[in-house]
């Protein structure tokens, strides 16, 4: 089967949502104005929140470390602007609950020059490169926000053969990775050099979806000769950008259930993350801004913007001319993005897009019918799970059976099943809840 998939250059199942990328994919990345107030939550990444090391009233320079990593799975947070710490306290977050954070007031007339750091040379040993990546505060910029240095660490007894650079960007509407590939080829290749050295990978493949041929051609035209790197174009299909699907499409291998890419000798890194590593490490700087696609029918100045981390969403929407009748705002794409309930949250490291729908787009026919067992979800699930059966079991609260017999915990919540469901059953939501309940039970069992 793996052989077959390899020849097809794609994975099984998946869906084809309308792309809507043409609104922004030809717009170059532009610098976003600095807001007067930056709001920085301390947990912008998966893992332990960073620990604040500055005091209220302290003046800080752009690029200075404001909070340091407290554990292995944690990263520091840098000042996105030069200014003064106004307040340390609770800040609103996308998840809904408040979290510890910093209110940073920007100096209006500062040159916003970035503080100098300790450069990490390409010749450094793998451990030093990993440390450099951690010190730069880098997390997966595709949206997952998992600390990159943790992912790059090859466990004892395993080896990394393939470094896969994820330039798929399969979420509709989003074009940040596309623009980064067109505009930051050199940063990407520098990043790849760091990553190959850190992981010991023997070969690098940049995977790009066929709707970004220009990016593929641009990168191919600039391929360096000193490292074994190639560009592969794969068919457009959601969720091609998931790690597992990308590995299957590029290598014809399947990551074992419950395993990690390293189990098939691979490490997958998002292309924007790679570019940021290549941009920051040679100067020893930390991450202060990121590229965000701001788009959707509710926005008049759509585009790809380099936005300082911590910029409040309300300020962003004012700058890009949000319509009066906006109804839903999502952080991320329409398939996996999270609906925003509060415009006082800010752009964080994991924000790849801001999508704004008006009243006109918010689905009219959302009436939920019973499952008619049409099997559309079964034909959509990229992991060949049985969402229909899982959905019925979730209704009966048979969470253990879902996990034990139907691979619930493999589900990565891509949303393909809900997308195709004619009965509008919120399957992904069921699975999200079921997974958290199963996780709690497993924890309780371990402790008990």
């Amino acid at each position: 089967m793996g052989f077959l998939n390899f020849r097809q250059n794609t994975f099984k199942h998946g869906v084809h949502p309308p792309e809507h990328k043409s609104d922004t994919n030809e717009l170059p990345i532009r610098q976003f104005p600095f807001p007067s107030l930056i709001i920085l939550p301390m947990s912008q990444h998966i893992g332990a929140p960073a620990k604040i090391i500055v005091r209220e009233g302290e003046e800080v320079t752009r690029g200075q470390v404001l909070a340091e990593a407290t554990a292995h799975v944690s990263v520091p947070i840098h000042a996105p602007v030069s200014g003064v710490i106004r307040k340390i306290g609770n800040v609103p977050t996308l998840a809904g609950q408040m979290s510890e954070g910093i209110y940073l007031e920007a100096f209006p007339y500062s040159s916003q020059e970035v503080a100098k750091g300790e450069p990490v040379p390409l010749t450094a040993c793998p451990e030093d490169i990993l440390l450099g990546i951690k010190n730069a505060g880098i997390v997966g910029l595709g949206g997952a926000a998992f600390p990159t240095h943790v992912k790059l660490q090859v466990p004892e007894g395993k080896e990394c053969e393939y470094l896969l650079i994820n330039g798929i960007e399969c979420e509709p509407y989003l074009t940040t990775d596309h623009r980064v590939m067109l505009e930051q080829a050199e940063d990407i290749f520098t990043g790849i050099r760091y990553l190959m050295r850190a992981t010991g990978a023997k070969r690098t493949i940049i995977g790009i979806e066929a709707n970004k041929q220009d990016a593929a051609e641009h990168l191919r035209a600039h391929l360096p000769t000193d490292i074994p790197v190639s560009v592969e174009v794969v068919p457009v299909k959601y969720p091609q950008g998931s790690e597992k699907m990308l590995i299957t499409s590029l290598l014809g291998l399947e990551v074992p259930s419950g395993g990690l890419p390293i189990d098939v000798k691979s490490v997958v890194v998002n292309v924007a993350t790679t570019a940021e590593i290549g941009r920051l490490l040679p100067h020893g700087r930390g991450i202060q801004e990121r590229v965000v696609t701001i788009t959707g029918p509710g926005i008049s100045k759509k585009g790809n913007y380099r936005i300082p981390i911590g910029t409040p969403l309300r300020y962003v929407l004012e700058q890009v001319g949000a319509a009066d009748n906006i109804s839903e705002v999502y952080m991320g794409g329409p398939m996996m993005g999270v609906a925003v309930s509060n415009l006082d949250i800010s752009v964080v490291k994991g924000t790849s897009g801001i999508l704004v729908f008006t009243e006109n787009e918010v689905k009219a026919n959302k009436k939920i019918y019973p499952c008619i067992k049409c099997g559309a979800c079964v034909d959509a699930c990229p992991l060949s799970l049985n969402p229909s059966k899982l959905g019925i079991l979730a209704k009966f609260e048979a969470y253990d059976e879902m996990a034990d017999n139907f691979h619930l915990m493999d589900c990565f919540e891509c949303g393909s099943c809900s997308y195709v469901c004619p009965s509008h059953i919120p399957l992904v939501q069921y699975f999200r809840l079921s997974k958290s309940i199963v996780r709690k039970r497993q924890k309780a069992n371990q402790n008990g």
Binding site: K12, P17, P172, K244, T248, E254, V255, P256, S257, G258, R314, L317, A322, D324, N325, I326, S327, E328, V329, Y330, P334, M335, M336, G337, A339, S341, V362, K363, K367, Y369, P370, C371, I372, K373, C374, G375, A376, V378, D379, P382, L383, S384, L385, N386, S388, K389, N405, H407, D410, E413, G415, S418, Y419, V420, P422, S423, H424, P426, V428, R432
Partner: protein, 339 residues
């Protein structure tokens, strides 16, 4: 913008735009040409029968929902499908009062007591027909010739039989191709079968229109094409083997495909999403079982036609097929065996 109330919803925030009621409505649309041909070939009798069974199903569903204190589910169109399918499987001069009872039973016993749409174990239309077959064995096998000259001007006395009375059998009657084969060993030409120039149940005669309806639905992804392919394929292969063994005794595979209720059953009834398995391999097994049972009942059973019982039996084992056959999950070596 500043003071807008934001709506929040869970991802994904877009849908494909297909909804259950639109699927059901499309099935109704795909059945309309079949029903239209039934009216053209059998006249007013067929028209009245289809109206009666459909009205019976819709009214029953509406009434039962109200009595159960629920919102009426008539607007999802599924009761219309049941009513049309039931009417199409009955003989054209079937007494209307019996058709009405069939419609009530199809919805009440075939669907509602299981919990309504999505929970029925059997195809509701076939449950209604099975009860009618048991209750009125003569009326349901009283056939009528197609394309009679007065079909648009007169109504058969059988159609208008007074409720709870036994219909008087008309002088004219036409044997169906399957009955002719079974009881008189007479074969009907395959061209007549395909085009529906024959006697038979109201909507089972024109195989071409049924096929077109199926192709329309399959092209719109509203019908699992694997089911009719498996049903028709297994009938073709099995009857083909028998035909090769002895063409004098066994009918040709073409005759088997285009006669009786097989085409309508394979395309519009075996494909009832609720009562069929969901996995790709599961539906192939399910369809093959229907094909096998159809051939066995037709050739060795006491009845001339076996599609209805074949589908009902396969409906019954469909949940077990679903339990036994799960697709191989990504990243696993072999499929998980369920206890």
């Amino acid at each position: 913008m500043a003071n807008r109330t934001l709506h929040i919803s869970t991802s994904p925030h877009i849908t494909k735009g297909v909804s259950t009621d639109s699927i059901m409505l499309n099935v109704v649309l795909a059945l309309l040409p079949v029903a239209g041909f039934a009216v053209i070939s059998f006249g007013l009798n067929a028209l009245l029968l289809l109206i009666t069974t459909t009205a019976a199903c819709v009214l029953t569903e509406h009434r039962l929902c109200r009595w159960a204190g629920q919102e009426s589910t008539v607007s999802d169109w599924s009761a219309v499908i049941t009513g049309l399918l039931l009417g199409l499987t009955l003989p054209p001069i079937f007494p209307l009062w019996m058709g009405f009872i069939g419609g009530v039973i199809a919805i009440a016993l075939g669907k509602f007591i299981f919990g309504g749409l999505g929970y029925n174990v059997f195809n509701p239309a076939l449950v209604g027909r099975a009860v009618l077959q048991a209750a009125f064995p003569v009326a349901i096998t009283t056939w009528y010739p197609a394309f009679l000259g007065d079909r648009f001007s007169s109504i058969s006395s059988s159609t208008l039989t007074f409720p709870f009375m036994t219909p008087t059998v008309d002088a004219v009657s036409g044997a169906t191709p399957l009955a002719a084969y079974k009881f008189e060993q007479v074969m009907t030409g395959s061209q007549d079968l395909a085009l529906g120039l024959i006697s038979g149940s109201t909507g089972e005669t024109c195989a071409v229109l049924i096929l077109l309806g199926g192709i329309y639905l399959a092209a719109r992804n509203m019908l699992n094409w694997r089911i009719p392919v498996a049903v028709l394929g297994s009938v073709f292969v099995l009857s083909g083997i028998l035909y090769l063994i002895d063409p004098q005794v066994y009918p040709s595979p073409i005759f088997m495909l285009f006669s009786g209720g097989l085409m309508l059953g394979a395309i519009f009834m075996a494909t009832d999403m609720v009562a069929s398995p969901v996995t790709p391999f599961g539906v192939v097994i399910y369809g093959s079982i229907i094909g096998l049972l159809t051939v066995v009942i037709r050739i060795w059973g006491g009845l001339p036609e076996g599609v209805m019982y074949a589908i009902l039996l396969a409906n019954a084992i469909s949940p077990h097929i679903d339990n036994a056959i799960q697709p191989r999950v990504y990243g696993t070596v072999k499929k998980q065996v369920k206890s």
